[in-house]
C-alpha cells in the first residue's frame, strides 16, 4: 500500500510545508550548478556552435513533460482505485507544472530549431507529439475545473489522464510513421559526439527540474488542500 493511502490531508499539509522549501533550495543549487557547467564549462560544439546550449533546458524539460504526465496518470489510477483524496489532489497539482515544462520544451525546441534546421517549427514526430501532449495537459486541467463538485472533477480528470497515457505512445508512433512517410529523413540529434561536461550539465538541469517539480507540486497541493478543507476544524485553527 502506498504512503498517501494513510496520510490524512492535515498531516500531509504540514509535511509538504516542511519539504517544499527544501525542494526549491535543492532545485536552485542544482540549477545554478547546471547553468555553470552548461554555459561556462561546456565547450562550444563543433557543428552547431553556441546554440546547442539550448539543449540544457530543452532536453530536461521534454523529459519532465512526459515523465510528469506519467506520474499524474499513476496518481489518477491510485485515486480511482483506492478512492484516495490526496492522490487526486497530487495529480491536479502536477498538471500545471507539466504543462509549463511542455511549453518550455516546445518553445526552446523552436528557438533551437531555427538556427540548426532553418525553421522554427518542423512537423517532426517528437515536436508534434509534444504539441499533442500540451493539449492533453490543457484538457486535463480544463476537465478538472469544469465541475461544481471538485471530487467529480478529480475523478473525471483521473480517467482522462489514464486514457491519455495509453494513447500517448500510439500518438507518438503514428506521428513518427507519418513523418517518415512524408519527409523521408527525419531530423535527429545525432552527429554530435557529446562532451562529458555537456552530459553533466544536462543531468544537473534534469535533477534541478525534477526537484523544482516536486517543490511546486507540494506547494500547490497545500493550496488545494486549504481550498478543499477550508470548512474543517484544523484549517480554521491555522
Amino acid at each position: 500500500m502506498n504512503f498517501f493511502y494513510f496520510a490524512s490531508p492535515s498531516t500531509f499539509y504540514r509535511l509538504a510545508g516542511i519539504l517544499a522549501p527544501w525542494c526549491f533550495a535543492v532545485a536552485a543549487i542544482l540549477g545554478a550548478a547546471g547553468l555553470y557547467v552548461g554555459l561556462v564549462q561546456a565547450p562550444t560544439d563543433a557543428q552547431q556552435g553556441e546554440v546547442y546550449r539550448v539543449i540544457f533546458i530543452h532536453v530536461p524539460a521534454a523529459w519532465m513533460s512526459m515523465f510528469l504526465y506519467f506520474v499524474m496518470a499513476c496518481y489518477g489510477a491510485m485515486s480511482l482505485t483506492f478512492n484516495t483524496r490526496l492522490a487526486a489532489m497530487m495529480a491536479r497539482a502536477l498538471a500545471p507544472t507539466g504543462a509549463m515544462f511542455t511549453f518550455v520544451a516546445l518553445w526552446t525546441g523552436a528557438f533551437w530549431g531555427r538556427p540548426t534546421w532553418g525553421a522554427y517549427w518542423v512537423w517532426d514526430a517528437r515536436l508534434t507529439s509534444e504539441l499533442v501532449l500540451l493539449f492533453l495537459y490543457f484538457g486535463f486541467i480544463a476537465l478538472g475545473n469544469a465541475f461544481e463538485d471538485p471530487r467529480r472533477g478529480d475523478r473525471a480528470a483521473a480517467l482522462l489522464a489514464l486514457i491519455g497515457v495509453v494513447n500517448l505512445p500510439i500518438i507518438y508512433f503514428s506521428v513518427l510513421w507519418w513523418n517518415t512517410l512524408h519527409q523521408g529523413s527525419s531530423v535527429s540529434f545525432k552527429g554530435t559526439s557529446m562532451h562529458v561536461s555537456m552530459l553533466t550539465g544536462m543531468l544537473l538541469m534534469a535533477f534541478a527540474f525534477w526537484s523544482y517539480s516536486i517543490g511546486t507540486a507540494l506547494a500547490r497541493v497545500r493550496t488545494i488542500i486549504l481550498e478543499r478543507e477550508r470548512r474543517t476544524r484544523w484549517v480554521r485553527a491555522l
Partner: protein
C-alpha cells in the same frame, strides 16, 4: 554565426515561465488564505 538571440530567447522564456508559475502559486495561496479568513470572520459575526 551569432546565436545569442536564440539562446537568450530560450533561457529568457524559461526563466519568465518559471517566475510566472511561482508568482501564480503565491497568488493562489494568498487567495485561499484570504478566503478562509473571510469565512472565519463571517462566522464570528454570526
Amino acid at each position: 554565426m551569432n546565436h545569442d538571440f536564440y539562446i537568450w530567447m530560450s533561457y529568457g522564456m524559461t526563466a519568465l515561465v518559471i517566475a510566472a508559475e511561482i508568482a501564480w502559486l503565491r497568488l493562489h495561496r494568498a487567495q485561499a488564505l484570504r478566503r478562509i479568513e473571510e469565512e472565519r470572520d463571517l462566522e464570528a459575526q454570526d
